[in-house]
């Protein structure tokens, strides 16, 4: 049994455990134990990974394993991790862990909720550990489908509409993706769908790349909220229950960036070079557009969803800059955005659970009655607008410095455009903070609200600690990612 | 020559009664006309030398099915009541459609079917022969369909009883 497969196995065991439990207490015990195990696993993995690297192992992926599971199409279950995957696995573990605590009081049907939740985690973990294109795609789908039910059943507001919209748009994306993946496989002439092997062969004809690169990139881009395909994000996030918003914005949207980088750009570097400018413009628009879009919203979740569009746009933007620094920044931005957006959604869920509204016009002065949540919200806001010592800053700065290293005006002008988003971000973050957290209490009923309880405090504190940790000591994670980015960038520069 | 005459007589019977069967206003009459058509068809089988088919047609169709029909008609129909038909416009459309189909298929038959009029002599088909063909699994042997049909029949019996049984 490969070490990495345990990441998929734990959620499976969690599901078994959930089947066997009869009441909320047992369910929560199973979930907590499972999520903690996942946390421990990812910590262990990080440790093992770093020791292995320190010992001088320079292989592109570590802990590799390979099993054929469908021979006729050469589909393997092959796993392996590099620094990027490790970072993503840490992120996933943190979000799953906090997600469990954020959905402590989920109602109705807690058992079913946690079952789907675990299934979602299987998809997420599987996606990050696998190196086989088809298996990757399969996990991607596993991660998408539960979303429909999770939003449709446990959501709020126009949940059916949003669930349908989200699922259809993401499925549309994955249709493009499937075409892209099959195109890659068949035109590469490889004998497996292992992406390392395809990358090593590196003989997809450029004409073919021109077809399949946009398909694959856009397929992943839909999940990464690429500009014209981002509209599922506001509605989907607004309707989703707290933990699902967290997991979706925190981890699932990262699948987009990760995939775009790992699959689209890594395997089709020539087309990536040729077409980067189109997508750079689109992502550049995403960054600014999402930020401006957020200013005008009045629903907390919408604000945050648009902010996610902006921040995830920055991820794809940096990936397309195709140099080591910017790409490292992109991965760090994924991490940082995952953490802070999860924190945001957790807090919004908790606030909504108390005030029963997410309209910023109807709230005010929550700091007075909910000091813990208020302070956490301010911290999340500060992380989002890139305050040094919080995670957002290191990621954004790495991206900006990296992107600015291009010698041509086009890339640099775009970088400056992207830089301008930090001001707009400040505007909408402060608008919200000033309106709902500070200021006088808007609604008499809000005076009787009670502050966070212990499980909410656990969820929020873990995320805040992670944000602080990443923001204050970015060096190790930056170097871990930076080393792993090199092979991909090497492929691109070649 | 006798064959021709018999054929044309049967042909006229079948044609006329099938048209009457679908245009008649009283359902019991339609059933009767249908019986004539079925008998005429049986005659055609005989004319072609398939005695066994002739017997089956008479027994199953004319005997079995028609009885069912008549029972059903008597059960569901109030005597003397005319069968409702569709609106005239729909009848015209249906008629035109049928005529179009007729013309089209007739066209195909007229232009595309080789005019084979020679009936090669054929030895009589003995019951033994039929039985053997029905009981084997080789080429030109039909045990499997036979068994299928038998299961189907069984299912039908059970189904018919289940459906029609009074609750």
């Amino acid at each position: 049994m490969n070490f990495l497969s345990i990441f998929v196995l734990i959620p499976v065991l969690m599901m078994v455990g959930l089947f066997a439990s009869n009441n909320r207490k047992q369910l929560l015990t199973v979930m907590t134990i499972g999520a903690s195990l996942l946390m421990i696993m990812s910590a262990t993995l990080t440790y093992m990974y770093l020791t292995e690297r320190a010992a001088g192992n320079v292989a592109e992926m570590l802990f590799m394993a390979d099993t054929v599971w469908y021979a006729p199409f050469n589909i393997h279950y092959s796993v392996g991790v590099d620094g990027i995957s490790v970072a993503m696995l840490i992120l996933s573990s943190i979000i799953v862990f906090t997600g469990v605590f954020a959905s402590w009081k989920i109602d109705p049907l807690p058992k079913e909720f946690f079952l789907w939740f675990s299934l979602l985690s299987i998809g997420v973990y599987g996606f990050f550990i696998t190196t086989d294109l088809f298996t990757m795609f399969m996990y991607y789908e596993i991660a998408l489908i539960p979303m429909y039910l999770l939003i449709g059943i446990w959501g709020t507001g126009r949940k059916e509409y949003s669930a349908m919209k989200l699922t259809l748009m993401l499925m549309g994306g994955s249709a493009l993706l499937l075409v892209g993946i099959l195109g890659i496989y068949f035109s590469s002439g490889a004998t497996t769908m292992n992406l390392l092997e395809i990358a090593k062969l590196h003989n997809i004809p450029v004409e073919m790349q021109r077809y399949f690169f946009p398909l694959t990139f856009m397929g992943f881009g839909v999940l990464g909220a690429l500009f014209p395909f981002h509209t599922w994000s506001p509605d989907g996030h607004a309707s989703a229950p707290t933990a699902v918003s967290m997991l979706h914005a925190g981890v699932l949207m990262k699948l987009g960036g990760y995939g775009a980088f790992r699959v689209a750009m890594y395997l089709m570097p020539e087309a990536a070079h040729e077409m980067a400018w189109i997508f750079l413009i689109l992502t550049g628009i995403s960054v600014v557009y999402g930020a401006f879009g957020a200013i005008h919203q009045t629903d907390l979740k919408y604000i945050n969803a648009y902010s996610s569009v902006s921040h995830c746009g920055l991820v794809l933007f940096a990936i397309l800059m195709m140099n080591e620094t910017a790409t490292t920044g992109a991965i760090m931005q994924m991490l940082s955005h995952g953490l802070m957006t999860a924190l945001f959604f957790a807090l919004i869920g908790m606030i909504y659970g108390r005030t029963h509204t997410r309209d910023i016009r109807l709230m005010g002065g929550l700091m007075k009655v909910l000091p813990f949540l208020g302070v956490s919200y301010v911290i999340a806001g500060m992380a989002s607008l890139g305050l040094p010592s919080l995670s957002g800053f290191v990621a954004e700065m790495t991206i900006f410095v990296g992107s600015f290293q291009h010698t041509d005006t086009f890339h640099r002008v775009l970088t400056i455009t992207a830089v301008s988003s930090i001001v707009i971000t400040a505007v909408y973050i402060l608008k919200v903070v000033g309106k709902i957290i500070f200021g006088p209490i808007q609604d008499k009923h809000h005076e009787e609200l009670t502050d966070a309880v212990w499980y909410e405090r656990v969820a929020v504190s873990v995320l805040i600690v992670a944000i602080f940790a990443m923001g204050s000591a970015p060096f190790w994670i930056s170097s871990m990612i930076g080393e792993s980015v090199i092979p991909v960038i090497g492929q691109l520069i070649k | 020559m006798a064959q021709q005459i018999i054929f044309y007589v049967l042909a006229v019977i079948i044609t006329v009664f099938s048209i009457l069967a679908v245009t008649s206003k009283q359902i019991i009459r339609s059933a009767t006309y249908l019986l004539f058509v079925l008998l005429g068809t049986a005659g055609l089988y005989l004319l072609l030398g398939y005695n066994y088919l002739f017997a089956v047609q008479i027994a199953v169709y004319a005997g079995g099915i028609m009885v069912l029909f008549i029972f059903a008609i008597l059960l569901t129909n109030k005597p003397g009541e005319n069968v409702k038909t569709e609106l005239p416009i729909r009848r015209i459309v249906a008629g035109l459609t049928s005529l179009a189909g007729l013309a089209f298929c007739g066209h195909i038959i007229y232009w595309n079917v080789k005019k084979i009029s020679v009936l090669t002599e054929m030895a009589d088909i003995t019951p033994q022969q039929l039985g053997r063909m029905m009981m084997g699994t080789d080429k030109y042997q039909y045990l499997l369909p036979f068994e299928m049909i038998s299961i189907l029949l069984l299912a039908c019996i059970v189904g018919a009883i289940m459906v029609a049984r009074k609750r």
């Binding site: 349908m164 919209k165 748009m169 014209p228 395909f229 509209t231 506001p234 509605d235 557009y289 401006f292 879009g293 200013i295 005008h296 919203q297 080591e324 620094t325 002065g365 700091m367 007075k368 000091p371 607008l385 890139g386 305050l387 040094p388 010592s389 800053f393 700065m397 790495t398 900006f400 410095v401 990296g402 600015f404 290293q405 640099r412 970088t415 400056i416 830089v419 930090i422 001001v423 400040a426 505007v427 402060l430 608008k431 000033g434 957290i437 500070f438 200021g439 006088p440 209490i441 970015p474 060096f475 930056s478 170097s479 930076g482 | 569709e86 459609t97 179009a100 189909g101 089209f104 195909i108």
Partner: protein
């Protein structure tokens, strides 16, 4: 000098400790912890200054010392963010200024903020601010400076918005943060451009001798200016944002919504001079590489000084008068830097700027703390609620007077020395700027004494209160203002003492552009002119405001246009409001939100709706009417047959 790391670590620990504990402590305990930590830091800073100025002079030149540096985040092989401590003359000077003022403010707040809700939080924020500001001044590279630059911005945001349930405070905090953030964006772009060409963030490399790093960017131009000019100009915009230069000054007057000690600390003495410090830090780059930008800074500074001084003359809120005065004085420092040369006598401006920074920090903090003391006594910021307070608050009165004399440039108070140097440097650069600055100095004297007389002289407070008939109901009728307690009075006296003697510090021996000694010569011509002018202004103010008189109203009436414009701060705020509300919110954001919902989303929904529409159309085929199926079937069959026939 390894121990200097403690100067940074202690306030950080204090912040974390106080922040996490929050209400676990009694307010007093938290305050004491904060103050004691600050006391230790102050002592350490003084020791650092002592050690540095006595031991690190090599061949008459003060050396740059980096006792601590570590890599924090690596970008490329050449570029990485390092965190470290750079000790040189100006950073040591800043350490002293910041820790002194901060300590005084901490002490003062013990009493001033007593009984406020969130006292512990207040001290946590003060520690955070002190940490960030100290980190800013000891930055070894421009990116570290940017990091702490942002952190001071945020601490300023938190402290301005300390009374978070007051909408005006929240609005002011937001405004301060967003305006400075806007400027910081340019700062960041400037850093990006600069680092792209020079491949370094390090101050040592940028400002060192014979900097070859600039060769790469020497030829490159963008829109007629060299890229370096652009970079340095952008960086200056960052500084201008923090130091409230025109047109980014709008946030500072509003920032007075924060507690008064905070205004004294952040918005008078320390944070707002960060821009000046930035320019000073990069002075060699400005001077050698992009002199045109440096001259630009001088003009921007001169204009801002005039602009703010004019506005200060008509404001009625005492803290706002001080705020505009601060803007004006910071602009003085900017002008001094802008007109300065580099070596020897040429470098007067640089030295004067730093000197003025030092003295200004002291007397402006004193003014704010004095104002705080007054506000504490009368519970109002408005001049009309004050008057004749000298009888009730003697200590405040005297210390305030000393500060006013200092800022007006009357010898022997510290302001005279530093301001005189600035004027001298300006005259050397261009007589126009020189006379302008002299005029502004006169204005300064005028508005400061207007303020002084309005608070401490004029109509008696009690009479006024009775006349107004409200007398601050919530504190009981007939409330008499009283002198502040010791914790508040001590900082006033201390700072006043510093103000009296600071002018005699041989400042030039410690701080100069090159690090070499520089002897201050008082230019008698300039000195006499400025003193005479200041005295005339003071006399005018005395005539107008010492006794209640109608002269000010008459003057206001005869210059009604100017008066009104100045009262409304020349409508700059309205312009900004127009830009943000009308242009950003209504013309960009709203259309984008609309576009997103009604164009992009509608397109996506359109796909879905089309599919649904088609399916509804198709659905009617599935009617359950068997005859209809038969028709379709028949036609289909016929069609297929016909097709087979035809082809």
């Amino acid at each position: 000098m390894q121990y200097t790391i403690l100067i940074l670590v202690l306030p950080l620990l204090s912040f974390i400790f106080l922040g996490l504990m929050d209400s676990k402590f009694k307010p007093k305990t938290a305050g004491l912890i904060g103050t004691i930590v600050l006391g230790i830091i102050t002592a350490l800073s003084y020791y650092t200054a002592f050690e540095y100025f006595t031991m690190y002079k090599v061949e008459g030149v003060y050396q740059k010392v980096i006792p601590f540096e570590m890599e924090w985040l690596r970008f490329t092989d050449l570029l990485s963010i390092k965190l470290g401590i750079l000790i040189d003359a100006i950073s040591v000077m800043m350490l002293v200024v910041i820790s002194t003022v901060s300590f005084m403010v901490n002490l003062y707040s013990l009493s001033y903020m007593d009984g406020e809700k969130g006292f512990q939080r207040y001290y946590a924020f003060l520690s955070l601010f002190t940490f960030s500001m100290l980190g800013l001044v000891v930055a070894t590279n421009i990116f570290q400076m940017y990091i702490f630059w942002e952190l001071v911005g945020v601490s300023s945001f938190l402290l301005i918005g300390f009374y978070y349930s007051k909408p005006s405070a929240v609005a002011a905090a937001k405004k301060a943060f967003i305006v400075t953030r806007f400027a910081d964006m340019f700062f960041l772009i400037g850093i990006l451009v600069l680092s792209f060409y020079t491949k370094t963030f390090d101050f040592g490399v940028l400002t060192g001798e014979n900097p070859i790093v600039f060769a790469a960017g020497a030829g490159a131009t963008f829109m007629g200016f060299s890229v370096l000019s652009w970079a340095m100009a952008l960086i200056f915009i960052g500084g201008a944002g923090k130091s409230a230069m025109f047109p980014l000054q709008i946030w500072l007057p509003d920032a007075m919504e924060g507690p008064t000690p905070v205004s004294a600390l952040i918005h008078a003495a320390t944070m707002v001079v960060a821009g000046v410090f930035l320019v000073a830090r990069l002075f060699p780059v400005y001077y050698f590489q992009t002199p045109e930008v440096l001259h630009g800074i001088a003009y921007v500074g001169a204009f801002t000084a005039l602009f703010a001084a004019v506005i200060a003359c008509v404001q009625t809120d005492i803290k706002r008068v001080l705020a505009f005065s601060t803007i004006s004085q910071i602009a003085f420092m900017m002008v001094a830097l802008g007109v300065s040369g580099y070596e020897g006598h040429e470098g007067t401006g640089y030295m004067a700027s730093m000197f003025h920074l030092f003295t200004h920090a002291m007397f402006k903090a004193l003014l704010f703390l004095g104002a705080g003391s007054v506000i504490h006594a009368v519970h109002s910021n408005e001049m009309k609620d004050m008057g004749g307070l000298r009888k009730y608050m003697p200590i405040t009165n005297w210390t305030f007077l000393i500060a006013c004399l200092a800022i007006a440039g009357i010898p022997p108070f510290s302001g005279f020395f530093s301001k005189d140097e600035i004027l001298a440097a300006s005259f050397e650069f261009s007589p126009l700027i020189g006379w302008l600055m002299t005029f502004i100095a006169a204005l300064t004297a005028f508005y400061m004494f207007r303020l002084y007389y309005n608070i401490f002289w004029g109509k008696d407070y009690a009479v006024k209160a009775a006349a107004h008939g409200h007398g601050h109901d919530d504190h009981g009728h007939g409330h008499t203002p009283h002198e502040s307690p010791f914790a508040m009075a001590f900082p006033l006296v201390f700072l006043a003492a510093v103000t009296c003697v600071a002018g005699f510090i041989p400042f030039g021996e410690f701080v100069s552009a090159t690090g070499a000694d520089y002897h201050i010569h008082i230019d008698m011509k300039v000195a006499i002119t400025s003193v005479v002018v200041a005295l005339i202004s003071i006399s005018v103010a005395t005539i107008m405001y010492r006794k209640p008189s109608t002269t000010p109203d008459k003057l206001a009436a005869s210059f009604s246009g100017l008066f009104k414009a100045a009262s409304n701060r020349f409508y700059i705020d309205e312009v900004y409001l127009f830009i943000t509300r009308k242009i950003v919110f209504n013309s960009i954001s709203r259309p984008i939100a609309w576009f997103d919902r009604h164009v992009i989303d509608a397109t996506m929904d359109g796909f879905a709706n089309t599919t649904q529409w088609v399916s509804i159309r198709i659905k009617s085929f599935q009617s359950g009417q068997i005859q209809q199926y038969a028709y379709v079937f028949l036609f289909g069959t016929l069609l297929i047959a016909a097709l087979i026939l035809i082809f």
